[in-house]
């Protein structure tokens, strides 16, 4: 048996005792509320299930990036889905980003046609967790971004609306814990944190 195989057997009792550890560390989460990135989920499917929400699209005819925003009253969360199109002609845009926040992301509260499931990732990440709870689930972040600092230094000429739209605003959280993909992957998790708690949660496999 290889060294790695032996190590896995040695770790098995620990992994069984603490199931979250078995899958969480080392790979970014891709699902929330039963909605998954890196799947065949596309815009048409989500709109059919949850309604149109608030549509935001790029100017021009290409419309290769679209965002749809909803508000889930029961969970007290704003949810925005981003879709990009990189498929063959006549297929709909793929889901590339799920952003969930307690901060208003749409100008109005657009209710989904059908209630969303709870916005918790497969490893247990959710808005409201403390830093310690996040670390227990995912380990140390690969990088910590100073969102507030960048907002002031790098994006001073942006409007607040633009910053919000690109998830660059410190309104989502003053720092962002990043769990990054390996070199040949895009899937990442970003947790916007203020006052020691997750205020917004980003899952993305966008370019």
């Amino acid at each position: 048996m290889s060294l790695r195989g032996r190590a896995a057997w040695l770790l098995l009792p620990i992994m069984l005792a603490c199931p979250a550890m078995a899958s969480a560390v080392g790979k970014a989460d891709k699902c929330m509320a039963g909605i998954c990135l890196e799947s065949k989920t596309n815009q048409k499917m989500l709109v059919a299930k949850y309604g149109p929400g608030r549509l935001r699209k790029e100017p021009g005819a290409d419309a290769d990036t679209m965002q749809r925003c909803y508000y889930d009253k029961k969970q007290g969360l704003y949810i925005e889905f981003t879709f990009d199109k990189h498929a063959e002609l006549n297929t709909d845009s793929d889901l590339t980003t799920i952003m969930v926040s307690s901060v208003p992301m749409c100008p109005k509260r657009y209710a989904p046609k059908k209630p969303f499931q709870k916005f918790v990732t497969e490893s247990g990440l959710r808005v409201g967790l403390t830093e310690a709870e996040v670390e227990a689930i995912k380990g140390k972040p690969d990088r910590i971004d100073d969102v507030a600092g960048k907002e002031q230094k790098n994006y001073a000429n942006f409007t607040q609306e633009e910053l919000m739209q690109d998830y660059l605003s410190s309104a989502y959280g003053g720092v962002k814990w990043m769990y990054l993909p390996p070199e040949d992957d895009l899937l990442l998790n970003g947790l916007y944190i203020s006052d020691g708690k997750v205020k917004s949660l980003l899952l993305s496999d966008s370019e």
Binding site: H86, D166, E183, D185, L186, S204, E207
Partner: protein
Amino acid sequence: MPLPSDQSQRSNAASPPFSSMSDQLYPQVGQGRVSPGVVQLQDDTFTDDPVHDAIRQVFDIESNQKQGGDDADKAIGLVKDFASHQAWKNSPLTFDEAKNTVMNHVVKTQAAQGNTASTIPALVYTDMSGGKTWFHNPDTNENFEIQTSNAVTSNAKEGADSPYIGNITRCEVGELKNAKAFGTAKIYTTDNRQRWIHGGGTGLDDPLAPRQGWKPTQGCTRGQNEDVEQLCRKIQQWQTENPDRTILYIRTRSMNP
């Protein structure tokens, strides 16, 4: 393909280090100097890239028919014709399909009367293996080069890194929507898979920084923001100065592996 290190080079040199057919053909076409000697390539330059091979076939056929002729306009007309042909929109074709398509266009183009010097398009050429993209201005013979990457993700859709031939449509510089993914400049093409040339990179430390770093894509060509901005300005300048002329866009793997 590994992501490049941040060593982008930009140049306005008259003769860039093309190791591709474009090097051997396009500048000469732009100057109206296509001849069999120029376009004759070695057999070992065949690749598995049908677009590239078909371009070669076009020029080989053209050369043979001309027997030393000097009709650059017709040659570029051929390229333009098959670039806009629907069959080429979703490359790759098989070699035979590509060859047949080109043959049909040769016949059509021979029958057609045509292109004058003022219709010769500019060229944006991405060498996906070599990690570079050029803008070629056929009037001035200027070549503007930037470093680009066509590294795609492990779960990208089938054919995401396939060659493509078509036209540049427009470009944007400045504050883009979904800026973290696309950066500060984005160049659109006729590719119906929407594989653009852009900067940015979701998850990078600062996707809007002039040299933001590298990250794979779902099929697009990525450059550094400041480089793509300059490329975009070249395109915009060309389009402003030449409203009736197109910009041919070719992305291929290198002819010389």
